[in-house]
Structures are given as structure tokens and as C-alpha cells.
């Protein structure tokens, strides 16, 4: 009997151990169970058509999945349309919605457990006021009955799906993390909206600009950040004149000099965020119809950030790519208009150095008086551990961040951020999905607040346009590019640039509009927007190609989206090869220079030169700044490459060239040669002797990682061409997350591809189905139905229940 008892004990222990999560290892018994563990997520056949009764629907909804499984929702009213969208999106992308909202609300620790990196991220998310701002926005959304109805219908649809699930039906990531889906709400949609703004408008270099002025002087900053490169073409062409009186706030007499701050912001600007868009007028196309093209560049992930969807109900028939967790779509078209956005790096995040009355941080000095703060307690729950709390102080600028905490001289900064404004940006996308012409397009942009975007537009009426849109604070020149004085009202944001004064152009003479994150308007535009935008190369290349072409076809546009030409290489490689001191190189190194001389600046996957050039330039810039920047001991602002190119060519004696850590005075020849040898050594080390392993397609290291960074669920080393400075901006796991082309003839036709699939299930062949077409630039023709299609891969019919 003793042996029986021991045996029973052993059995119980094994069951308990197999049912418990250890660290990041899921409970193995539960996880490997073929009936309800991960095996249950393996798709063993194409889904079959089904019919469901769902409480909350008013009428019947049919969702047709085409051969690529793109859902086409046909509903009898808008409520049911957005309800069904929520349902279908959750069905395909629930975990993605979940993890991104946990992240945006500073709640990752709740599902991950104790992890210092995650905890810091949660804390910073809250210090940035993200949950606070989401709550502010929710109040604003509630005031708008139309968009509130859309948000709640969507949320109800998501919950209808969640409520239909048993544990075995949970997406595989839930099983890996051993968690269950959380109820959805409009607030969670708004958290996602905040996440989008953090990605698009979460960059700021205020501290680094202040430090750079202190260290190198005003002239240096003016040279690299205040001067336009000669080849730059602003988004709005110079033919546009500004026929209004601009009301610009007065500048303080002298610029505030802040205390040197180690590091204010915690999230660095995302280097990979950018985009292209352009529209060609019918006068330049073969068919005589406008053609619109767009490709947003973001961090690539699986499941993809986007999902294609068609929305059809009385009063609306539209197709676009949705952002999972938000109703509607962000980029797309309907039967009348098409639009696509690019990001604009407007200066819409400012940092204010504060003076508090005492350590209690109850009052701060502003406009010659002590003003009270408000405090908000943030409680961060941690899985398997005690929750932590953080009291966040709010001034009228915004939430306060402490730099150098615990030191003798802590420095306090308040953050003013456009994403904190109680705007209702989702309304813009709702209105755009129903807009019928240019006028309605312009009106739809009005509620759009955070995350300035350049909206490219085309209509079946033949109009083309570009609107740089969003909410832009009125600023004096260079206001907020450095750390601001939190005591002086002259540094506060002082109202908004009127909608009609924003940089836009309609039907310009040149017959096309385009944008690629460069400066929105040239110096004749009266308002100050920011001191520096993306380098000129992509925008210039697009304009050069469009200018010289007529009789443009859809195929031309597809080829352009895959254009790998590097204006950057063209602008500096000949000089670099000239400066190279051949005598200092080994025989093998010299041999490779012939290949570099023969290169046509195409960043193609099968070429060896692009990878070599990429690291050669990068090593050269390291040699240029690292000595000075390391000596500075504070974070400085790195000059943009296009200005560096110009300065190097014009001033071969420029002071950064000298290596201050050596006795001798280095020349540009020394640096370029040293960089060449180091690059050669690097390539030998990582890629072996010169062979196909040097191909850019491998060097580009294009990993499309899982959205929750779970190993094995992504796609590694997607062999492809592209570059930072090429129209095809693919590189290092960033790049065109969706490529779309729309021809606005009497019948709107469209093509598109993204690196992923509708299904967010790693156990489905559809999960990464489009990657190969995306990699090779094969756009799919999109099925834009006017009537319910006669054929579909499968159909889900939803009916109202009681």
C-alpha cells in the first residue's frame, strides 16, 4: 500500500508539474495535448462555410473570403458592418490586438511577469501619459455619436468572437503564454490608436539638439539641421503660393539654455518609419485615369500589421488595409476616391524643463506664479508578483518625467505631445471610407489630430491632391527643437495652424504629387513645422522618375515601388573611390574596388556592392563622429547623411574628419581608406571570402519577426533588395508593409500586396502566404466587389440571435 501511495503521489506530482508554467515554458501537458494544446491550432483543411447566430446583430451579414482569404463583408447597415469587422478581425488577429493593447496601456508585465526590460517599458508608457490620454480621448469620442456607434459596434463584434471561444480554440500564443483573451472595449481601440501615435509621432531630439548646441555651437546645428540639401524637393511643389496671413507667435529674446540632461526620452525615434506615396494625373497616364500608389514603411512583423478587408453596406463600399483593433481601414479606396498616407516628422513632441517649489512636486513655477499640479497613481500589475505603483505628476504641459533620479540634482521635464490631445482621429478614417470627392476628402481630414500625415488623394472625377494633415501647433521658428523653458509662457504651444493653412496642393501643373517624409513645404511657407525631415533621396527619385514619364501604366507604378536605385550611393560613392588610397590596401581589397567602380547604384539582392557600400559608409560615419561624440559624454544629435555628404564634398578639411584621439591630423583619404579596410575585414568575418554570401539579399538581414517576438513564429532571412534611401525601402526587417496601386477609372481597380496573410495563425498556410509575392514585387489584383460575389473560398454567415 505504501508503494501505491508513493506511485499516486508521483502521478499527482507529474500532472501538477505538466500543468504549471515555469518561466517562459508553457505548462507542457496542456501545451502538447493534441486535442486542445498547440496541435489544435494546426490547420488541417481550408475552413468550411458556416452560419452563426450572434446576439447583437440587427440583420444578416455575409462574409465572403476570396481565394487569398481576404474577407469581404456585406451587411445591411453600418452597425452590423462594423460589428462583423470586429468579429472577423478577432477571428484572425486576436493575439496581435491583445499584445499591442497591453503594450499601449503599460500592462505587459501583467502577462509576461517579472522582467526588468518589460517593467521599464510599462512604466515609461505610463510616464508618457498613454493610458491617461486614451481616457481623455474616450470622453471626446463619446461626444460624437456617429464614431462612438462605430467603436461600440466593433467592440461588441470582437467580444462576440471572444465569447464563442473555449480554451482549445485560443490562438496559439495564448497557449504559449498560458493566458486567456481579455474582454474588448472602445478604450482598448483607443489604446491601440495611442500605440500608432507612439510609432509615428513618438520621436524627439530636443535634448540632443540642446546638447549639440552646447557642445558644437549654433553654427554646427544650423549647418546640419537648419540647411536644406541642394537636391531636396519639398512635398508641396514650388508652384504653390501661400495667399494667407500667417499668425506666428513672437519669439523670446534669447533662447533658453537648459541644464544638460543625460537622456530624456526613453523610446528612441523609430528609424524604420517612413513611407512613399504618389499620384499621377490622368494627363500623364496611358488610360487617362489618375493612378495612386502608396507604400507605408514600418517594422515588418507576422502577423502583418495590416489586414485587407472590404466593407460593404448601404452608403459605403470600400476596400483597404485595417489596423487590427480599429474599425474601418487606414489606407484604401472606395468607388469614388483613393488615399494613402506617409508620415511627417513634425515637431509635435516638446520637453519643458521645470522648476518645482519643493520636493513634494505640488507646485511649479509658470508665468510668474506657482501653479498646482495634478497627480495620477499608476498601478502596474505584475504576473506572479506584487504590483508596483508610480505617482505621475501632471502640469498644464503634460506628464512629468524625472531625469537623473536619486542624484543630487534631479531634473524634471514635462512632456507636451500631440497624442495627448483629446482628438477623435478615428473619425477621419470613417469619413474617408465614405467620401465621394475632393471636398469631402478635405472635410474628413479636419478631425485628424495626432501623427501628422501626408495624405495623397485621387478621385474618379480626375482630381489629384496632397494634404499634409493633422493638428499643427503654431510655433516661432525653431520653437521646441531644443529643451524648452517650462516657466515661460512664450514656450507654450499657442493655438493651431488653421486647416486651410496646412500645406496642400490640388492638381498641380506638373501633373503629379508625391511625398516620402521629406520637408512638407519650402522656405516660402510661413509657419514653422520642424527643423529637419527625412533625407531627400527617396522623394527626389520618385519625382525624377515621374517627371520624365508620360503614358504611365499601372505596371510602371508597380516597378517604381520596387525601384532599388540609391541616389545616396550616386552622390558619394565616386568621391569615396577617388579618396581611397590604393597603396594602403591589400591585393584582395584592391581587387574588389573594380566591382565597386562598375556598380550602377542599384541596391539589388543579387549584387555584392550594396552590402559593401552600406557598411563602408556606415564605418566612415562612425570614424567621422565617434571620437567627438564619445568625448562629449552626453547624447548628441547625429547629422543627417545627406548633409554629411554635401559637407564632405565641399569641405575636405571639415573638423569632424580629424580623429581627436590621435596626435596626427587625419584626412578624408585616411578615413575612407581605413573604413574600406574595416568593411572588407567585416565582410570576410561575417560572410566569408567574396562569393554569393556577400549578396545584399543576405546582408540585408531581413527578418520578419513575430509580433510578440516569439521565436519560430516569424520568417527569417527573407532574401530581398532595397535600401533606406531607395523607393523600395526594404532592409533589416523594416520596409514597405503594404504596397498599393489604385487606378481611378469608371471602375476603380486596385493592386496590392503585404508580407503576411489574412490569417494570424502560425499553423495556417495563409499566415505567410503573400511573402513570396511581396518579396518579388508581384502585386495581387484586388477583388473589389460591387455585388456579393457568386464564388468564394468559404463564406461565414452571421445572423442576429436573441
Amino acid at each position: 500500500m505504501v508503494r501505491a501511495a508513493i506511485s499516486l503521489l508521483a502521478l499527482t506530482a507529474v500532472i501538477i508539474i505538466f500543468n504549471t508554467r515555469f518561466g517562459s515554458i508553457p505548462p507542457v501537458g496542456k501545451f502538447f495535448d493534441p486535442d486542445s494544446g498547440f496541435w489544435a491550432n494546426a490547420e488541417t483543411s481550408v475552413p468550411e462555410s458556416s452560419e452563426l447566430q450572434l446576439e447583437g446583430l440587427k440583420d444578416k451579414v455575409s462574409i465572403y473570403f476570396d481565394e487569398r482569404r481576404v474577407p469581404h463583408i456585406f451587411a445591411e447597415n453600418e452597425h452590423d458592418l462594423f460589428f462583423a469587422q470586429g468579429y472577423i478581425t478577432a477571428m484572425h488577429r486576436l493575439f496581435q490586438m491583445e499584445i499591442q493593447t497591453y503594450d499601449a496601456a503599460g500592462r505587459l508585465s501583467e502577462i509576461i511577469g517579472e522582467n526588468s526590460f518589460i517593467q521599464r517599458r510599462d512604466r515609461t508608457t505610463r510616464r508618457w501619459g498613454m493610458p491617461w490620454a486614451a481616457e481623455r480621448k474616450i470622453e471626446a469620442y463619446k461626444q460624437d455619436s456617429t464614431v462612438w456607434a462605430v467603436l461600440t459596434a466593433y467592440s461588441d463584434g470582437v467580444n462576440a468572437y471572444i465569447n464563442s471561444l473555449d480554451g482549445e480554440d485560443f490562438p496559439i500564443e495564448y497557449k504559449i503564454l498560458d493566458i486567456a483573451p481579455e474582454e474588448w472595449s472602445p478604450l482598448r481601440s483607443v489604446h491601440l490608436e495611442m500605440n500608432m501615435y507612439r510609432t509615428l509621432a513618438g520621436g524627439s531630439s530636443d535634448d540632443r539638439t540642446s546638447n549639440t548646441i552646447a557642445y558644437f555651437g549654433e553654427e554646427f546645428v544650423e549647418k546640419f539641421f537648419g540647411t536644406d540639401p541642394a537636391l531636396l524637393e519639398a512635398i508641396i511643389p514650388p508652384s504653390r503660393t501661400w495667399d494667407f496671413e500667417a499668425d506666428i507667435p513672437p519669439k523670446p529674446d534669447s533662447l533658453f539654455v537648459p541644464k544638460t540632461a543625460e537622456r530624456i526620452q526613453f523610446f528612441d525615434p523609430k528609424a524604420g518609419v517612413g513611407s512613399n506615396n504618389w499620384v499621377v494625373h490622368g494627363s500623364k497616364t496611358q488610360n487617362g485615369y489618375p493612378i495612386l500608389a502608396g507604400d507605408p514603411h514600418l517594422s515588418l512583423s507576422l502577423p502583418s500589421i495590416w489586414m485587407e478587408i472590404q466593407l460593404h453596406a448601404p452608403g459605403i463600399n470600400a476596400y483597404g488595409v485595417s489596423f487590427q483593433g480599429l474599425p474601418g481601414y487606414l489606407i484604401g479606396f472606395n468607388e469614388y476616391i483613393a488615399y494613402t498616407e506617409t508620415n511627417v516628422a513634425l515637431d509635435i513632441m516638446d520637453w519643458y524643463e521645470l522648476q518645482f517649489k519643493d520636493e513634494n512636486l505640488d507646485e511649479y513655477w509658470h508665468d510668474n506664479q506657482w501653479k498646482p499640479v495634478t497627480k495620477r497613481i499608476e498601478k502596474i500589475a505584475i504576473r506572479g508578483a506584487e504590483a508596483i505603483t508610480d505617482t505621475i505628476v501632471y502640469t498644464h504641459h503634460g506628464p512629468v518625467t524625472i531625469t537623473n533620479p536619486g542624484s543630487e540634482e534631479p531634473v524634471y521635464h514635462a512632456m507636451r505631445w500631440i497624442a495627448h490631445e483629446p482628438d477623435i482621429g478615428i473619425k477621419t478614417f470613417y469619413l474617408l471610407s465614405k467620401a465621394k470627392n475632393y471636398e469631402e476628402f478635405v472635410e474628413a481630414l479636419r478631425p485628424f489630430g495626432a501623427g501628422a500625415q501626408s495624405f495623397a488623394f485621387a478621385s474618379t472625377e480626375g482630381d489629384i491632391a496632397m494634404w499634409v494633415s493633422g493638428k499643427f501647433p503654431k510655433k516661432w521658428k525653431y520653437q521646441g527643437r531644443t529643451v524648452s523653458d517650462g516657466t515661460d509662457p512664450a514656450y507654450d504651444w499657442q493655438g493651431w495652424i488653421p486647416h486651410e493653412h496646412k500645406p496642400f496642393v490640388k492638381n498641380p501643373d506638373r501633373g503629379f504629387v508625391s511625398s516620402a517624409n521629406q520637408e512638407p513645404a519650402d522656405d516660402s511657407y510661413p509657419y514653422y513645422l520642424a527643423d529637419n525631415f527625412a533625407p531627400y533621396e527617396r522623394g527626389r527619385r520618385i519625382n525624377d522618375l515621374l517627371r520624365e514619364r508620360n503614358d504611365i501604366t499601372v505596371e510602371d507604378m508597380m516597378n517604381m515601388q520596387m525601384d532599388n536605385y540609391s541616389l545616396h550611393a550616386e552622390s558619394i560613392l565616386p568621391e569615396m573611390l577617388d579618396w581611397l588610397v590604393i597603396d594602403s590596401l591589400s591585393l584582395q581589397e584592391v581587387e574588389f574596388t573594380t566591382q565597386m567602380h562598375d556598380w550602377d547604384y542599384e541596391m539589388n539582392a543579387d549584387l555584392k556592392q550594396p552590402g559593401f557600400f552600406y557598411y563602408w559608409w556606415r564605418t566612415l560615419t562612425d570614424l567621422l563622429y565617434d571620437d567627438e561624440f564619445d568625448a562629449a559624454e552626453v547624447r548628441l544629435r547625429e547629422p543627417y547623411r545627406d548633409r554629411v555628404v554635401e559637407v564632405l564634398k565641399a569641405e575636405p578639411e571639415f573638423f569632424l574628419i580629424d580623429d581627436i584621439t590621435t596626435e596626427r591630423r587625419e584626412t578624408i583619404q585616411d578615413l575612407v581608406t581605413e573604413a574600406y579596410s574595416r568593411t572588407y575585414a567585416r565582410m570576410m568575418q561575417f560572410n566569408g571570402p567574396v562569393s554569393d554570401t556577400w549578396n545584399w539579399g543576405w546582408v540585408i538581414n531581413n527578418d520578419i519577426n513575430h509580433v510578440g517576438q516569439i521565436p519560430g513564429l516569424g520568417a527569417e532571412d527573407v532574401y530581398s533588395g532595397g535600401s533606406f534611401e531607395a523607393i523600395n525601402a526594404t532592409r533589416f526587417g523594416y520596409g514597405p508593409s503594404w504596397r498599393m496601386i489604385v487606378e481611378l477609372g469608371p471602375e476603380v481597380k486596385a493592386w496590392g500586396v503585404y508580407p503576411g496573410g489574412t490569417s494570424g495563425n502560425p499553423g495556417s498556410p495563409n499566415y505567410d502566404e503573400y511573402i513570396e509575392n511581396w518579396r518579388t514585387g508581384q502585386h495581387y489584383e484586388l477583388n473589389f466587389y460591387k455585388e456579393p460575389p457568386a464564388e468564394s473560398l468559404f463564406t461565414i454567415t452571421l445572423k442576429g440571435g436573441q
Binding site: L11, N19, G29, P34, W39, A42, G763
Partner: protein, 113 residues
């Protein structure tokens, strides 16, 4: 062999209605009923669910073209989807083997024969 087959069928049914640990129930009951030797019970019990879970995993692996099992193999760093199938089979087998042994021990036949 009959014991293993009955455990396989029993565990398959239990797995449909109970959480994963339901696979231990047939072992406990049938181990008691059959009252085989300790090692014999352990072995037949192990084999029954080893074959059940391994077979189910194998079938899913084939029907899914190995898409998910390959991803899980990468996630776990075990190199091959076949190892994932093997782990699945062994995990089920261990639980069932222990259960069957426990069953037999409770029937008083606590010695090897």
C-alpha cells in the same frame, strides 16, 4: 497489449471531455482491473497514450504539411518536427504509464511476477 489498446481508446474518449490530465483516468481504472505487474502496467500504460498522442500528433503533422510542428520545433530549438511529435507522445505516455502503475498497485499486487 489488450490493456494498451483499451487505455488508448479510453484516453481518447477522456481527452474529448476532460482537460488533458483526463488521459490518466483509464490507466488508473484499467490498471486496477488488469492488475498486471508493476513494470508491465507501467509499460502498457505508457504505450497506450504514447501511441494515442503520438499518432494524433503525427496525423496533424501530415495533414498540416508540417507547418506548425516545424515552427514549434524552431521555437523550442529542437531542430526537427519529429522530435516535437516524440515529445508529445512521451509526455502522454509518462502520465498514462504512471497512472496505470498506480492502478495496479492499489489492487494489492505490489510485487513483480
Amino acid at each position: 497489449m489488450v490493456l494498451a489498446i483499451l487505455i488508448l481508446i479510453g484516453a481518447w474518449v477522456m481527452n474529448l471531455f476532460f482537460p488533458w490530465w483526463g488521459i490518466a483516468i483509464p490507466g488508473l481504472i484499467l490498471g486496477y482491473q488488469f492488475n498486471k505487474s508493476t513494470m508491465g502496467s507501467l509499460g502498457w500504460g505508457f504505450l497506450g497514450v504514447f501511441l494515442l498522442w503520438g499518432g494524433q500528433a503525427f496525423w496533424i503533422h501530415i495533414a498540416n504539411d508540417g507547418i506548425l510542428s516545424t515552427r514549434i520545433a524552431n521555437m523550442l530549438g529542437v531542430g526537427s518536427p519529429w522530435i516535437v511529435i516524440l515529445i508529445t507522445a512521451v509526455l502522454g505516455g509518462v502520465v498514462s504509464g504512471l497512472a496505470t502503475m498506480t492502478g495496479s498497485l492499489f489492487n494489492g499486487k505490489g510485487h513483480n511476477s
